[in-house]
Amino acid sequence: MIRALVTGFVMHFKMLARGGFELSIVTFWPAVYATLGYYIYRAGQEPASLFYVSLGSTMMAMWSTTAFACGGAIQRQRWLGTLELMVAAPIPFIAVLIPITVASTAIGIYAFATTVVFGRVVYGVPITVAHPLMFAISIPVAILAIGALGLLMASVLVLYRYAGSLASATEYPVWLICGLLVPLSLLPSWSRPISWVLAPTWGINALRSAAFDGPTLRYIGLCLLATAAYSAVAIGFIAYFERLARERATLSLT
Protein backbone atom coordinates (compact mmCIF):
# COMPACT_ATOMS: atom_id res chain seq x y z
CA MET A 1 0.00 0.00 0.00
CA ILE A 2 2.76 2.46 1.02
CA ARG A 3 4.63 1.60 -2.16
CA ALA A 4 1.51 2.28 -4.26
CA LEU A 5 1.06 5.64 -2.50
CA VAL A 6 4.68 6.67 -3.09
CA THR A 7 4.84 5.47 -6.71
CA GLY A 8 1.45 7.08 -7.38
CA PHE A 9 2.65 10.40 -5.95
CA VAL A 10 5.89 10.34 -7.96
CA MET A 11 4.15 9.41 -11.23
CA HIS A 12 1.35 11.96 -10.90
CA PHE A 13 3.79 14.68 -9.87
CA LYS A 14 5.90 13.85 -12.94
CA MET A 15 2.84 14.02 -15.17
CA LEU A 16 1.82 17.41 -13.82
CA ALA A 17 5.39 18.72 -14.03
CA ARG A 18 5.53 17.65 -17.69
CA GLY A 19 2.31 19.50 -18.55
CA GLY A 20 2.60 23.04 -19.91
CA PHE A 21 -0.82 24.14 -18.67
CA GLU A 22 -0.30 22.93 -15.11
CA LEU A 23 3.13 24.54 -15.01
CA SER A 24 1.72 27.85 -16.22
CA ILE A 25 -0.75 27.81 -13.30
CA VAL A 26 2.06 27.39 -10.79
CA THR A 27 4.64 29.67 -12.37
CA PHE A 28 3.06 32.44 -14.41
CA TRP A 29 -0.10 33.10 -12.39
CA PRO A 30 1.56 33.30 -8.96
CA ALA A 31 3.82 36.00 -10.38
CA VAL A 32 0.70 37.88 -11.50
CA TYR A 33 -0.94 37.45 -8.08
CA ALA A 34 2.26 38.58 -6.36
CA THR A 35 2.40 41.68 -8.55
CA LEU A 36 -1.20 42.55 -7.73
CA GLY A 37 -0.57 41.99 -4.05
CA TYR A 38 2.59 44.06 -4.19
CA TYR A 39 0.79 47.10 -5.57
CA ILE A 40 -2.09 46.68 -3.13
CA TYR A 41 0.15 46.40 -0.10
CA ARG A 42 2.80 48.90 -1.24
CA ALA A 43 0.54 51.65 0.02
CA GLY A 44 1.22 50.34 3.50
CA GLN A 45 4.93 51.23 3.17
CA GLU A 46 5.87 48.12 5.14
CA PRO A 47 8.47 45.90 3.42
CA ALA A 48 7.73 42.89 5.65
CA SER A 49 4.11 42.79 4.48
CA LEU A 50 5.32 42.10 0.95
CA PHE A 51 6.62 38.68 2.00
CA TYR A 52 3.25 38.17 3.68
CA VAL A 53 1.69 38.78 0.26
CA SER A 54 4.13 36.40 -1.45
CA LEU A 55 3.07 33.59 0.86
CA GLY A 56 -0.57 34.32 0.14
CA SER A 57 0.15 34.18 -3.59
CA THR A 58 1.84 30.82 -3.13
CA MET A 59 -1.13 29.42 -1.29
CA MET A 60 -3.50 30.84 -3.90
CA ALA A 61 -1.63 28.96 -6.61
CA MET A 62 -1.58 25.83 -4.46
CA TRP A 63 -5.33 26.01 -4.03
CA SER A 64 -5.80 26.72 -7.76
CA THR A 65 -3.89 23.59 -8.74
CA THR A 66 -5.76 21.59 -6.11
CA ALA A 67 -9.20 22.85 -7.18
CA PHE A 68 -8.35 22.43 -10.85
CA ALA A 69 -6.57 19.13 -10.55
CA CYS A 70 -8.71 17.42 -7.91
CA GLY A 71 -12.03 18.16 -9.56
CA GLY A 72 -10.37 17.70 -12.93
CA ALA A 73 -8.40 14.68 -11.73
CA ILE A 74 -11.40 12.41 -11.86
CA GLN A 75 -12.52 13.81 -15.19
CA ARG A 76 -8.96 13.60 -16.52
CA GLN A 77 -8.76 9.95 -15.52
CA ARG A 78 -12.11 9.47 -17.23
CA TRP A 79 -10.79 11.10 -20.42
CA LEU A 80 -7.62 9.05 -20.28
CA GLY A 81 -9.67 5.90 -19.73
CA THR A 82 -7.69 5.14 -16.57
CA LEU A 83 -10.51 5.71 -14.05
CA GLU A 84 -12.01 2.30 -14.71
CA LEU A 85 -8.60 0.67 -14.44
CA MET A 86 -8.04 2.36 -11.10
CA VAL A 87 -11.39 1.27 -9.76
CA ALA A 88 -10.75 -2.24 -11.07
CA ALA A 89 -7.38 -2.36 -9.27
CA PRO A 90 -7.19 -4.59 -6.19
CA ILE A 91 -6.00 -1.78 -3.89
CA PRO A 92 -8.67 0.46 -2.32
CA PHE A 93 -9.66 3.31 -4.60
CA ILE A 94 -8.87 5.82 -1.87
CA ALA A 95 -5.21 4.75 -2.06
CA VAL A 96 -5.26 5.57 -5.77
CA LEU A 97 -6.82 8.98 -5.21
CA ILE A 98 -4.58 10.17 -2.36
CA PRO A 99 -1.38 10.40 -4.47
CA ILE A 100 -3.27 12.22 -7.24
CA THR A 101 -4.63 14.90 -4.94
CA VAL A 102 -1.46 15.34 -2.90
CA ALA A 103 0.64 15.55 -6.09
CA SER A 104 -1.79 18.15 -7.43
CA THR A 105 -1.21 20.30 -4.37
CA ALA A 106 2.51 19.58 -4.17
CA ILE A 107 3.03 20.91 -7.68
CA GLY A 108 2.26 24.25 -6.00
CA ILE A 109 5.82 24.09 -4.66
CA TYR A 110 6.80 25.61 -8.01
CA ALA A 111 4.53 28.53 -7.11
CA PHE A 112 6.41 29.00 -3.88
CA ALA A 113 9.73 29.18 -5.71
CA THR A 114 8.27 31.50 -8.35
CA THR A 115 6.72 34.01 -5.95
CA VAL A 116 9.69 34.15 -3.64
CA VAL A 117 12.26 34.51 -6.42
CA PHE A 118 10.03 36.86 -8.45
CA GLY A 119 9.29 39.04 -5.44
CA ARG A 120 12.95 39.17 -4.46
CA VAL A 121 14.34 39.87 -7.94
CA VAL A 122 11.67 42.19 -9.35
CA TYR A 123 10.40 44.04 -6.27
CA GLY A 124 13.22 43.48 -3.80
CA VAL A 125 10.89 41.80 -1.29
CA PRO A 126 12.93 40.87 1.79
CA ILE A 127 12.81 37.16 2.65
CA THR A 128 13.00 37.00 6.42
CA VAL A 129 11.81 33.88 8.16
CA ALA A 130 11.64 33.93 11.95
CA HIS A 131 11.64 30.14 12.37
CA PRO A 132 13.22 28.45 9.33
CA LEU A 133 12.72 24.88 10.66
CA MET A 134 9.06 25.48 11.47
CA PHE A 135 8.69 27.15 8.09
CA ALA A 136 10.19 24.08 6.35
CA ILE A 137 7.84 21.78 8.28
CA SER A 138 4.84 23.99 7.55
CA ILE A 139 5.20 23.58 3.79
CA PRO A 140 4.63 19.78 3.55
CA VAL A 141 2.04 19.92 6.35
CA ALA A 142 0.07 22.58 4.47
CA ILE A 143 0.40 20.56 1.24
CA LEU A 144 -0.95 17.47 3.02
CA ALA A 145 -3.90 19.34 4.51
CA ILE A 146 -4.87 21.02 1.25
CA GLY A 147 -4.31 17.75 -0.62
CA ALA A 148 -6.66 16.03 1.84
CA LEU A 149 -9.31 18.68 1.17
CA GLY A 150 -8.79 17.97 -2.53
CA LEU A 151 -9.24 14.28 -1.78
CA LEU A 152 -12.53 15.00 -0.08
CA MET A 153 -13.68 16.98 -3.11
CA ALA A 154 -12.49 14.30 -5.51
CA SER A 155 -14.26 11.56 -3.57
CA VAL A 156 -17.56 13.37 -3.90
CA LEU A 157 -16.95 14.34 -7.51
CA VAL A 158 -16.24 10.79 -8.70
CA LEU A 159 -19.92 10.59 -9.58
CA TYR A 160 -20.05 13.60 -11.84
CA ARG A 161 -18.79 13.82 -15.38
CA TYR A 162 -18.57 17.64 -15.08
CA ALA A 163 -16.60 17.48 -11.86
CA GLY A 164 -13.89 19.83 -13.12
CA SER A 165 -16.24 22.78 -13.52
CA LEU A 166 -17.73 22.26 -10.07
CA ALA A 167 -14.34 22.16 -8.38
CA SER A 168 -12.96 25.14 -10.30
CA ALA A 169 -15.90 27.21 -9.04
CA THR A 170 -14.42 26.98 -5.54
CA GLU A 171 -11.18 28.69 -6.59
CA TYR A 172 -11.91 32.40 -5.92
CA PRO A 173 -14.23 31.94 -2.90
CA VAL A 174 -11.54 29.96 -1.09
CA TRP A 175 -8.90 32.59 -1.86
CA LEU A 176 -11.07 35.18 -0.18
CA ILE A 177 -12.60 33.26 2.68
CA CYS A 178 -9.31 31.68 3.80
CA GLY A 179 -7.51 35.02 3.94
CA LEU A 180 -5.06 34.29 1.14
CA LEU A 181 -5.69 37.56 -0.68
CA VAL A 182 -6.77 39.86 2.14
CA PRO A 183 -6.53 39.36 5.93
CA LEU A 184 -9.43 37.52 7.54
CA SER A 185 -9.99 40.48 9.85
CA LEU A 186 -11.26 42.49 6.87
CA LEU A 187 -13.98 39.93 6.11
CA PRO A 188 -17.47 39.89 7.70
CA SER A 189 -17.73 37.80 10.84
CA TRP A 190 -20.20 35.32 9.30
CA SER A 191 -17.45 34.10 6.96
CA ARG A 192 -15.15 32.98 9.82
CA PRO A 193 -16.76 29.60 10.56
CA ILE A 194 -16.47 28.75 6.87
CA SER A 195 -12.79 29.60 6.88
CA TRP A 196 -12.22 27.41 9.95
CA VAL A 197 -13.25 24.26 8.12
CA LEU A 198 -11.05 24.98 5.10
CA ALA A 199 -7.45 23.75 5.18
CA PRO A 200 -5.91 26.70 3.26
CA THR A 201 -6.79 28.91 6.28
CA TRP A 202 -4.58 26.85 8.57
CA GLY A 203 -1.96 26.25 5.90
CA ILE A 204 -1.40 29.94 5.27
CA ASN A 205 -1.49 30.70 9.00
CA ALA A 206 1.19 28.08 9.62
CA LEU A 207 3.46 29.55 6.95
CA ARG A 208 2.90 33.15 8.02
CA SER A 209 3.36 32.30 11.69
CA ALA A 210 6.67 30.58 11.00
CA ALA A 211 7.78 33.56 8.92
CA PHE A 212 6.59 36.27 11.33
CA ASP A 213 7.05 34.60 14.73
CA GLY A 214 3.50 33.45 15.45
CA PRO A 215 2.07 30.31 17.10
CA THR A 216 3.22 28.00 14.29
CA LEU A 217 2.85 24.75 16.23
CA ARG A 218 -0.81 25.44 16.85
CA TYR A 219 -1.46 25.96 13.16
CA ILE A 220 0.58 22.88 12.19
CA GLY A 221 -1.57 20.90 14.64
CA LEU A 222 -4.73 22.30 13.09
CA CYS A 223 -3.44 21.38 9.61
CA LEU A 224 -2.84 17.81 10.76
CA LEU A 225 -6.24 17.70 12.41
CA ALA A 226 -7.85 18.93 9.19
CA THR A 227 -5.91 16.28 7.20
CA ALA A 228 -7.19 13.52 9.48
CA ALA A 229 -10.77 14.79 9.43
CA TYR A 230 -10.91 15.23 5.64
CA SER A 231 -9.32 11.81 5.08
CA ALA A 232 -11.75 10.05 7.43
CA VAL A 233 -14.76 11.61 5.73
CA ALA A 234 -13.28 10.94 2.27
CA ILE A 235 -12.74 7.24 3.07
CA GLY A 236 -16.40 6.91 4.04
CA PHE A 237 -17.57 8.88 1.00
CA ILE A 238 -15.42 7.08 -1.51
CA ALA A 239 -16.71 3.61 -0.62
CA TYR A 240 -20.28 4.87 -0.94
CA PHE A 241 -19.74 6.88 -4.12
CA GLU A 242 -17.70 4.16 -5.80
CA ARG A 243 -20.63 1.77 -5.43
CA LEU A 244 -23.01 4.46 -6.63
CA ALA A 245 -20.78 5.12 -9.65
CA ARG A 246 -20.85 1.39 -10.50
CA GLU A 247 -24.62 1.48 -10.19
CA ARG A 248 -25.06 4.60 -12.30
CA ALA A 249 -22.34 3.72 -14.82
CA THR A 250 -20.47 7.03 -14.48
CA LEU A 251 -16.93 5.65 -14.41
CA SER A 252 -16.41 5.80 -18.14
CA LEU A 253 -16.70 8.74 -20.48
CA THR A 254 -19.66 7.31 -22.36
Binding site: A4, M11, M15, L80, L85, V87, A89, R246, A249
Partner: protein
Protein backbone atom coordinates in the same frame (compact mmCIF):
# COMPACT_ATOMS: atom_id res chain seq x y z
CA UNK B 1 -15.82 -26.23 -12.91
CA UNK B 2 -16.53 -23.13 -14.98
CA UNK B 3 -14.14 -20.23 -14.44
CA UNK B 4 -16.72 -17.66 -15.54
CA UNK B 5 -20.40 -18.32 -14.88
CA UNK B 6 -23.03 -15.89 -16.08
CA UNK B 7 -26.70 -16.46 -15.24
CA UNK B 8 -29.54 -14.32 -16.59
CA UNK B 9 -27.49 -11.16 -16.37
CA UNK B 10 -29.46 -7.96 -16.94
CA UNK B 11 -28.27 -4.38 -17.09
CA UNK B 12 -30.59 -1.45 -17.57
CA UNK B 13 -29.53 2.19 -17.80
CA UNK B 14 -31.71 5.11 -16.95
CA UNK B 15 -31.17 8.05 -19.27
CA UNK B 16 -32.61 11.52 -19.01
CA UNK B 17 -33.25 14.17 -21.61
CA UNK B 18 -34.62 17.72 -21.77
CA UNK B 19 -33.78 20.68 -19.56
CA UNK B 20 -36.95 22.17 -18.13
CA UNK B 21 -39.10 19.09 -18.56
CA UNK B 22 -36.81 16.21 -17.68
CA UNK B 23 -37.83 13.01 -19.40
CA UNK B 24 -36.47 9.68 -18.22
CA UNK B 25 -36.24 6.49 -20.19
CA UNK B 26 -34.78 3.02 -19.68
CA UNK B 27 -32.22 1.47 -21.98
CA UNK B 28 -31.99 -2.32 -21.79
CA UNK B 29 -28.32 -2.90 -22.64
CA UNK B 30 -28.14 -6.54 -21.56
CA UNK B 31 -31.25 -8.72 -21.35
CA UNK B 32 -30.78 -11.99 -19.51
CA UNK B 33 -27.39 -13.15 -20.83
CA UNK B 34 -26.15 -16.59 -19.71
CA UNK B 35 -22.98 -18.49 -20.58
CA UNK B 36 -20.06 -20.34 -19.02
CA UNK B 37 -16.35 -20.31 -19.78
CA UNK B 38 -14.18 -23.26 -18.85
CA UNK B 39 -10.60 -23.16 -17.56
CA UNK B 40 -8.06 -22.31 -20.25
CA UNK B 41 -10.77 -21.57 -22.80
CA UNK B 42 -10.67 -18.63 -25.20
CA UNK B 43 -14.30 -17.56 -25.39
CA UNK B 44 -15.51 -14.96 -27.85
CA UNK B 45 -18.43 -12.59 -27.39
CA UNK B 46 -19.23 -11.53 -30.91
CA UNK B 47 -21.73 -8.88 -31.85
CA UNK B 48 -22.29 -5.57 -33.64
CA UNK B 49 -21.71 -2.19 -31.99
CA UNK B 50 -24.23 -1.56 -29.23
CA UNK B 51 -25.03 -5.27 -28.86
CA UNK B 52 -24.14 -5.31 -25.15
CA UNK B 53 -20.63 -6.79 -25.31
CA UNK B 54 -18.87 -4.03 -23.38
CA UNK B 55 -21.66 -3.74 -20.82
CA UNK B 56 -21.38 -7.49 -20.18
CA UNK B 57 -17.60 -7.36 -19.83
CA UNK B 58 -17.83 -4.35 -17.49
CA UNK B 59 -20.17 -6.24 -15.21
CA UNK B 60 -17.78 -9.20 -15.19
CA UNK B 61 -14.83 -6.93 -14.37
CA UNK B 62 -16.80 -5.36 -11.43
CA UNK B 63 -17.01 -1.91 -13.06
CA UNK B 64 -20.78 -2.05 -13.38
CA UNK B 65 -23.32 -3.56 -11.05
CA UNK B 66 -25.84 -5.86 -12.71
CA UNK B 67 -29.47 -4.78 -12.51
CA UNK B 68 -30.38 -8.42 -11.93
CA UNK B 69 -28.93 -11.87 -12.50
CA UNK B 70 -25.66 -13.26 -11.27
CA UNK B 71 -22.09 -13.57 -12.50
CA UNK B 72 -19.16 -15.34 -10.88
CA UNK B 73 -15.49 -15.35 -11.74
CA UNK B 74 -13.51 -18.21 -10.19
CA UNK B 75 -16.47 -18.67 -7.85
CA UNK B 76 -16.54 -15.06 -6.63
CA UNK B 77 -19.63 -12.95 -7.12
CA UNK B 78 -18.79 -9.88 -9.23
CA UNK B 79 -21.23 -7.62 -7.34
CA UNK B 80 -20.63 -8.70 -3.73
CA UNK B 81 -17.03 -9.95 -3.83
CA UNK B 82 -15.52 -7.39 -6.17
CA UNK B 83 -12.19 -7.25 -4.30
CA UNK B 84 -11.64 -11.00 -4.71
CA UNK B 85 -12.54 -10.80 -8.38
CA UNK B 86 -10.26 -7.81 -9.05
CA UNK B 87 -7.21 -9.59 -7.66
CA UNK B 88 -7.69 -12.43 -10.12
CA UNK B 89 -8.58 -10.76 -13.39
CA UNK B 90 -6.87 -8.66 -16.03
CA UNK B 91 -8.87 -6.16 -18.06
CA UNK B 92 -7.71 -4.75 -21.37
CA UNK B 93 -9.78 -2.59 -23.69
CA UNK B 94 -9.18 -1.39 -27.22
CA UNK B 95 -8.23 2.07 -28.45
CA UNK B 96 -5.42 4.29 -27.30
CA UNK B 97 -6.96 5.38 -23.99
CA UNK B 98 -6.16 3.88 -20.59
CA UNK B 99 -2.51 4.95 -20.44
CA UNK B 100 -0.59 8.00 -19.21
CA UNK B 101 0.80 9.64 -22.32
CA UNK B 102 3.23 11.88 -20.45
CA UNK B 103 4.86 8.90 -18.77
CA UNK B 104 7.10 6.36 -20.45
CA UNK B 105 5.91 2.83 -21.11
CA UNK B 106 8.08 1.63 -18.24
CA UNK B 107 6.69 4.24 -15.83
CA UNK B 108 3.15 3.24 -16.79
CA UNK B 109 3.90 -0.40 -16.06
CA UNK B 110 5.63 0.39 -12.74
CA UNK B 111 2.68 2.48 -11.62
CA UNK B 112 0.06 -0.11 -12.52
CA UNK B 113 2.23 -2.90 -11.08
CA UNK B 114 2.00 -1.18 -7.69
CA UNK B 115 -1.75 -0.60 -8.09
CA UNK B 116 -2.15 -4.29 -8.89
CA UNK B 117 -0.01 -5.37 -5.92
CA UNK B 118 2.85 -6.95 -7.81
CA UNK B 119 5.48 -7.78 -5.19
CA UNK B 120 8.43 -5.35 -5.17
CA UNK B 121 10.89 -8.22 -5.59
CA UNK B 122 9.40 -9.48 -8.82
CA UNK B 123 8.14 -6.21 -10.32
CA UNK B 124 11.09 -5.41 -12.57
CA UNK B 125 11.49 -9.04 -13.74
CA UNK B 126 7.79 -9.26 -14.52
CA UNK B 127 7.82 -5.99 -16.47
CA UNK B 128 10.86 -7.14 -18.46
CA UNK B 129 9.19 -10.46 -19.33
CA UNK B 130 5.97 -8.73 -20.40
CA UNK B 131 7.79 -6.17 -22.53
CA UNK B 132 9.44 -9.11 -24.26
CA UNK B 133 6.07 -10.87 -24.67
CA UNK B 134 4.40 -7.89 -26.33
CA UNK B 135 7.43 -6.89 -28.37
CA UNK B 136 8.16 -3.56 -26.68
CA UNK B 137 11.62 -4.33 -25.34
CA UNK B 138 13.95 -1.42 -26.09
CA UNK B 139 11.08 1.06 -26.42
CA UNK B 140 10.03 1.13 -22.78
CA UNK B 141 11.86 4.37 -21.92
CA UNK B 142 10.00 6.40 -24.55
CA UNK B 143 7.00 8.47 -23.55
CA UNK B 144 3.72 6.80 -24.48
CA UNK B 145 2.65 9.90 -26.43
CA UNK B 146 5.25 8.89 -29.03
CA UNK B 147 3.95 5.33 -29.33
CA UNK B 148 1.96 4.15 -32.33
CA UNK B 149 -1.56 2.88 -31.72
CA UNK B 150 -0.36 -0.70 -32.05
CA UNK B 151 2.41 -0.14 -29.48
CA UNK B 152 -0.09 1.41 -27.07
CA UNK B 153 -2.37 -1.56 -27.48
CA UNK B 154 0.47 -3.97 -26.78
CA UNK B 155 1.39 -1.94 -23.72
CA UNK B 156 -2.25 -2.32 -22.62
CA UNK B 157 -1.93 -6.08 -22.84
CA UNK B 158 1.28 -5.97 -20.78
CA UNK B 159 -0.50 -3.80 -18.20
CA UNK B 160 -3.40 -6.22 -17.97
CA UNK B 161 -1.03 -9.11 -17.31
CA UNK B 162 1.20 -7.47 -14.70
CA UNK B 163 -0.26 -9.39 -11.77
CA UNK B 164 -0.35 -12.62 -13.78
CA UNK B 165 -4.14 -13.02 -13.59
CA UNK B 166 -5.62 -16.44 -14.41
CA UNK B 167 -8.58 -14.79 -16.18
CA UNK B 168 -8.18 -12.05 -18.80
CA UNK B 169 -10.96 -9.92 -20.27
CA UNK B 170 -10.15 -8.34 -23.63
CA UNK B 171 -12.68 -5.80 -24.86
CA UNK B 172 -12.19 -5.26 -28.61
CA UNK B 173 -8.40 -5.14 -28.27
CA UNK B 174 -7.68 -4.84 -32.00
CA UNK B 175 -10.11 -2.02 -32.71
CA UNK B 176 -8.55 0.71 -34.82
CA UNK B 177 -5.30 -1.14 -35.42
CA UNK B 178 -3.75 -1.45 -38.85
CA UNK B 179 -3.76 -4.99 -40.32
CA UNK B 180 -0.16 -5.70 -39.32
CA UNK B 181 -0.65 -4.41 -35.77
CA UNK B 182 -3.89 -6.38 -35.43
CA UNK B 183 -2.21 -9.58 -36.62
CA UNK B 184 0.66 -9.13 -34.15
CA UNK B 185 -1.82 -8.57 -31.34
CA UNK B 186 -3.83 -11.64 -32.29
CA UNK B 187 -0.62 -13.64 -32.03
CA UNK B 188 -0.14 -12.29 -28.48
CA UNK B 189 -3.73 -13.25 -27.60
CA UNK B 190 -3.23 -16.74 -29.01
CA UNK B 191 -0.08 -17.07 -26.86
CA UNK B 192 -2.09 -16.07 -23.79
CA UNK B 193 -4.59 -18.83 -24.37
CA UNK B 194 -1.78 -21.29 -25.09
CA UNK B 195 -0.21 -20.41 -21.74
CA UNK B 196 -3.35 -21.66 -19.97
CA UNK B 197 -5.11 -18.39 -19.21
CA UNK B 198 -8.87 -18.21 -19.48
CA UNK B 199 -9.73 -15.43 -21.92
CA UNK B 200 -12.97 -13.65 -22.71
CA UNK B 201 -12.59 -11.70 -25.94
CA UNK B 202 -15.21 -9.34 -27.28
CA UNK B 203 -14.98 -8.40 -30.91
CA UNK B 204 -17.09 -7.51 -33.90
CA UNK B 205 -14.54 -8.95 -36.32
CA UNK B 206 -15.77 -12.37 -37.43
CA UNK B 207 -12.44 -13.56 -38.78
CA UNK B 208 -10.83 -12.66 -35.44
CA UNK B 209 -13.34 -14.74 -33.51
CA UNK B 210 -13.01 -17.57 -36.04
CA UNK B 211 -9.22 -17.42 -35.86
CA UNK B 212 -8.82 -17.25 -32.08
CA UNK B 213 -11.83 -18.56 -30.19
CA UNK B 214 -12.57 -22.06 -28.94
CA UNK B 215 -16.22 -21.10 -28.51
CA UNK B 216 -18.26 -18.09 -29.48
CA UNK B 217 -21.48 -16.54 -28.22
CA UNK B 218 -23.18 -14.23 -30.70
CA UNK B 219 -24.85 -11.34 -28.90
CA UNK B 220 -27.30 -8.89 -30.40
CA UNK B 221 -29.63 -6.32 -28.82
CA UNK B 222 -28.45 -7.44 -25.39
CA UNK B 223 -29.29 -11.12 -25.82
CA UNK B 224 -27.29 -14.16 -26.85
CA UNK B 225 -28.66 -15.45 -30.14
CA UNK B 226 -26.33 -18.43 -30.64
CA UNK B 227 -23.45 -20.17 -28.94
CA UNK B 228 -21.02 -22.83 -30.05
CA UNK B 229 -17.67 -23.51 -31.67
CA UNK B 230 -16.94 -21.60 -34.89
CA UNK B 231 -17.65 -24.84 -36.84
CA UNK B 232 -20.99 -25.32 -35.06
CA UNK B 233 -22.04 -21.76 -35.82
CA UNK B 234 -21.13 -22.17 -39.46
CA UNK B 235 -23.27 -25.31 -39.55
CA UNK B 236 -26.25 -23.23 -38.39
CA UNK B 237 -26.26 -21.78 -41.88
CA UNK B 238 -25.00 -24.96 -43.53
CA UNK B 239 -28.25 -25.30 -45.42
CA UNK B 240 -27.74 -21.86 -46.85
CA UNK B 241 -25.96 -20.67 -49.94
CA UNK B 242 -24.41 -17.28 -50.50
CA UNK B 243 -24.56 -15.37 -53.77
CA UNK B 244 -22.31 -12.35 -54.28
CA UNK B 245 -23.29 -9.90 -56.99
CA UNK B 246 -21.07 -7.00 -58.03
CA UNK B 247 -23.28 -4.05 -58.99
CA UNK B 248 -22.86 -0.34 -59.74
CA UNK B 249 -25.18 2.34 -58.34
CA UNK B 250 -27.85 0.15 -56.80
CA UNK B 251 -30.57 1.97 -54.84
CA UNK B 252 -32.13 1.10 -51.47
CA UNK B 253 -35.47 0.15 -53.05
CA UNK B 254 -33.77 -2.44 -55.27
CA UNK B 255 -31.93 -3.93 -52.27
CA UNK B 256 -35.25 -4.08 -50.45
CA UNK B 257 -36.85 -5.88 -53.39
CA UNK B 258 -34.10 -8.54 -53.23
CA UNK B 259 -35.13 -9.31 -49.67
CA UNK B 260 -38.55 -10.24 -51.01
CA UNK B 261 -37.19 -12.92 -53.38
CA UNK B 262 -38.40 -16.35 -52.16
CA UNK B 263 -35.74 -18.16 -50.12
CA UNK B 264 -33.64 -15.04 -49.40
CA UNK B 265 -32.92 -14.64 -45.70
CA UNK B 266 -30.45 -11.72 -45.65
CA UNK B 267 -28.96 -9.11 -47.97
CA UNK B 268 -25.88 -7.09 -47.04
CA UNK B 269 -24.41 -4.31 -49.18
CA UNK B 270 -20.62 -3.88 -49.10
CA UNK B 271 -19.03 -0.81 -50.67
CA UNK B 272 -15.93 -1.64 -52.72
CA UNK B 273 -14.61 1.46 -54.47
CA UNK B 274 -16.91 2.42 -57.33
CA UNK B 275 -18.79 -0.87 -57.07
CA UNK B 276 -21.06 -2.41 -54.45
CA UNK B 277 -21.19 -6.09 -53.63
CA UNK B 278 -24.56 -7.53 -52.66
CA UNK B 279 -24.06 -10.52 -50.36
CA UNK B 280 -27.31 -12.47 -50.54
CA UNK B 281 -27.96 -15.40 -48.20
CA UNK B 282 -30.69 -17.87 -49.06
CA UNK B 283 -31.83 -21.40 -48.38
CA UNK B 284 -29.83 -23.76 -50.57
CA UNK B 285 -32.74 -25.33 -52.43
CA UNK B 286 -33.67 -24.01 -55.87
CA UNK B 287 -32.18 -21.68 -58.41
CA UNK B 288 -31.46 -18.26 -56.95
CA UNK B 289 -29.29 -16.32 -59.35
CA UNK B 290 -31.92 -15.79 -62.05
CA UNK B 291 -34.63 -14.45 -59.71
CA UNK B 292 -32.07 -12.07 -58.21
CA UNK B 293 -30.95 -10.84 -61.62
CA UNK B 294 -34.57 -10.25 -62.58
CA UNK B 295 -34.92 -7.90 -59.61
CA UNK B 296 -31.74 -6.12 -60.72
CA UNK B 297 -33.18 -5.34 -64.13
CA UNK B 298 -31.77 -2.00 -65.27
CA UNK B 299 -28.85 -2.12 -62.82
CA UNK B 300 -25.32 -2.64 -64.16
CA UNK B 301 -24.21 -6.04 -62.84
CA UNK B 302 -20.57 -7.23 -62.87
CA UNK B 303 -19.25 -10.48 -61.47
CA UNK B 304 -21.68 -13.00 -59.95
CA UNK B 305 -20.45 -15.88 -57.75
CA UNK B 306 -21.87 -18.50 -55.40
CA UNK B 307 -20.02 -19.85 -52.37
CA UNK B 308 -20.36 -21.77 -49.10
CA UNK B 309 -21.32 -19.72 -46.03
CA UNK B 310 -18.56 -18.49 -43.71
CA UNK B 311 -18.71 -17.58 -40.02
CA UNK B 312 -19.40 -14.03 -41.09
CA UNK B 313 -22.46 -15.20 -43.01
CA UNK B 314 -23.59 -17.18 -39.99
CA UNK B 315 -23.19 -14.06 -37.88
CA UNK B 316 -25.15 -11.90 -40.34
CA UNK B 317 -27.86 -14.53 -40.49
CA UNK B 318 -28.10 -14.79 -36.70
CA UNK B 319 -28.15 -11.05 -36.17
CA UNK B 320 -30.80 -10.60 -38.86
CA UNK B 321 -32.96 -13.24 -37.28
CA UNK B 322 -32.60 -11.77 -33.79
Amino acid sequence: MAVVEVRELVRTYETSSGFLRRGRSLVHAVRGVSFEIGAGELFGLLGPNGAGKTTTIKMLTTLLLPTSGEARVLGYDVARESGDVRRRIGYVFGGDRGLYDRLTGLENLRYFADLYRVSPGSRERRIEALLELVGLSGRERERVERYSRGMKQRLHIARGLLHDPPVVFLDEPTIGLDPVGARELRAVIADLAASGKTVLLTTHYMFEADDLCDRIAVIDKGAIVAEGTPAELKRLVGEHTVVELEVFGVGDEVVESLRGVPGVSAVVVEERGQAQVLVVQAHASGELVQPLLRQLDGVQVGRVSTREPTLEDAYVQLVNEA
